[in-house]
């Protein structure tokens, strides 16, 4: 990576982290809780987006989210906090490799259905193995940062920067073109020397691990987690909704999307109240999918490009007049 690009990215990470750090330092309890939720959603959405760049649309990321939480919780007593988290996240990667290998040949919709069924079966697995996983009574993961929300926010912000860095690596020159080629035309990718299978499984493994990181953060918030907290449809759909709202194939998109979705949720809750707000919230997401498939980031980029274009055309007109 050249120095300019490195500097650009460091500036970007600082800009992403800054608002979260400000909220943490201000210690406003409501906003700290919101910011923690946003950061966890953003990490999970980044994980989802990395996989989707290879054309694999998952509706089962709650599985990795939950496994990250459960894995880190169950392995920390064995390995200590640092290695315990690492082992929990590696477990997610290993399971992702297996799932990736099994679902490799499935066409788009079938792949999505397979990931959804997988997340449901993991929840069942937890319920039927109470001795190992605590079953329906749940588990008590070690609490992050001694249970101080502002410190938890700082820690999770650091995790978000890690996730953003991983996302950027897979948007770099080595992976972005190859991933998009795999998504668009795998035969063309293979005919260009790309080991298609290996890269699809690599994307799955990385995506699973980043989702596991999000789950480990989430499980460490209160020190108590039951299966319904993590293995729910909500965590399956959320990364997809967040990424579509913010913009696919970018690092900024899932982060902006997480902020926008949370804001939308709060506003809808304020005006509609009860559980009715979920209908409004769902409707807005559907509107976005139909009306703005490029997401907020893609839309903003389009605006910038359109504004530059007339300038370029003016140049050519000038050139023509001059000649």
């Amino acid at each position: 990576m050249n120095a300019a690009r490195l500097l650009n990215r460091l500036g970007f990470y600082a800009a992403v982290a800054a608002p979260f750090v400000v909220v943490a330092v201000a210690e406003h309890p409501f906003f700290v809780q919101i910011a923690i939720g946003v950061a966890v959603s953003a990490i999970l959405a980044l994980a989802w987006d990395i996989l989707s760049r290879t054309g694999q649309v998952s509706l089962g990321h709650a599985a990795f989210f939950g496994m990250g939480g459960y894995g880190s919780a169950l392995l920390t007593p064995v390995f200590g906090p640092v290695l315990g988290w690492a082992a929990g996240i590696l477990l997610c990667g290993a399971v992702a490799v297996l799932l990736g290998a099994v679902t490799l040949r499935l066409r788009r919709l079938y792949f999505t259905i397979a990931t959804l069924s997988f997340s449901l079966s993991i929840q069942v697995f937890i319920l039927v193995t109470p001795d190992l996983t605590g079953g329906s009574t749940g588990i008590m993961p070690p609490v992050i940062a001694g249970g101080s929300p502002p410190h938890q926010l700082l820690f999770i912000t650091a995790c978000l920067v890690v996730a953003a860095t991983v996302s950027d690596i897979f948007l770099g020159p080595r992976f972005r073109p190859a991933f998009f080629m795999i998504r668009n035309n795998p035969h063309l990718a293979a005919a260009s020397g790309v080991p298609v299978t290996r890269l699809k499984i690599l994307a799955f493994a990385v995506s699973g691990m980043v989702a596991g990181l999000a789950g480990a953060c989430y499980a460490g918030l209160y020190g108590y987690v039951i299966p319904e907290d993590v293995f729910t449809t909500n965590w399956n759909v959320l990364p997809l909704a967040v990424t579509i709202l913010g913009g696919m194939d970018t690092t900024l998109g899932p982060i902006i999307g997480a902020v926008a979705l949370r804001a939308l949720e709060e506003v809808a809750r304020h005006f509609v109240g009860g559980v009715g707000y979920q209908v409004v919230y769902g409707a807005v997401i559907i509107l976005f999918i139909v009306g703005m498939p490029v997401g907020l980031v893609g839309f903003a980029r389009g605006l910038v490009r359109r504004r530059r274009k007339p300038a370029a055309e003016a140049d050519t007109v000038k050139a023509r007049l001059a000649s």
Binding site: P177, M181, N185, H187, A190, A191, V194
Partner: protein
Amino acid sequence: MSGAVMDEIVMDGLRIDGCTVAFGGLRAIDNVTLDIPGGTITALIGPNGSGKSTFVNMVSGQIPPVAGRVVLKGQPITGLRPDRIVHRGLARTYQVPKVPKELTIQEVISVPLLYARSDRPLPSGVRSAADLAHYCGLRPAVTTRCGQLSVSDLRRLEIARALACRPEVLLLDESMAGLSLEDTDQVIGLVREIHVLGVTVVVIEHVMRIIARLCQHAIVLNQGRLLAEGAPQRVLTDPDVREAYLGKGFTL
């Protein structure tokens, strides 16, 4: 020519030995045996639907043959994965280029430059994707997205992408179809240059004028079978070949 000499010539080319590709009941390639001599520009011709593109798909590993062997430079490559076959030194273009719209020229060419891992050299003076785009006569800026390219530029991009695999054998599937006379002449010049680099080139073409000018060897497929093979002049005047094309409006 004695058998030993023939084998030596074929060692650095491509040998197809009793190959069959079937789609259900249709044998798109039907027990074909032929040699593409190394160091030649070979024409692969035949009426529409005769199996030319299927032949390319078979050789490049996209649709492996159900029977027979494909041998590249004396090494069997039958059943290898397409990316492995690229690593062995065989590249192909697609008749209908379908590249991701959001990628730029530079990004598309960079994929084989990164992944086709080869120590074979690029054309002299060519070091980057941009050089290669220029070498293949792509005029738009390398930062242009593929969604904005004309058909003729997409064809050139396909050639550039295949060249970036640094092949020893290159199969071009109708790279000149639908191009203007001027563009066709440029691509012919490009194919000649690639050939001079030491690449064995197989061109699929419908226009006989081009074949006669460009190729040292010709192969004719008809309904998946090998109809004729040999020097272009002889093959193009072969009564069987003429008959296969009759009624299709082709002039020889």
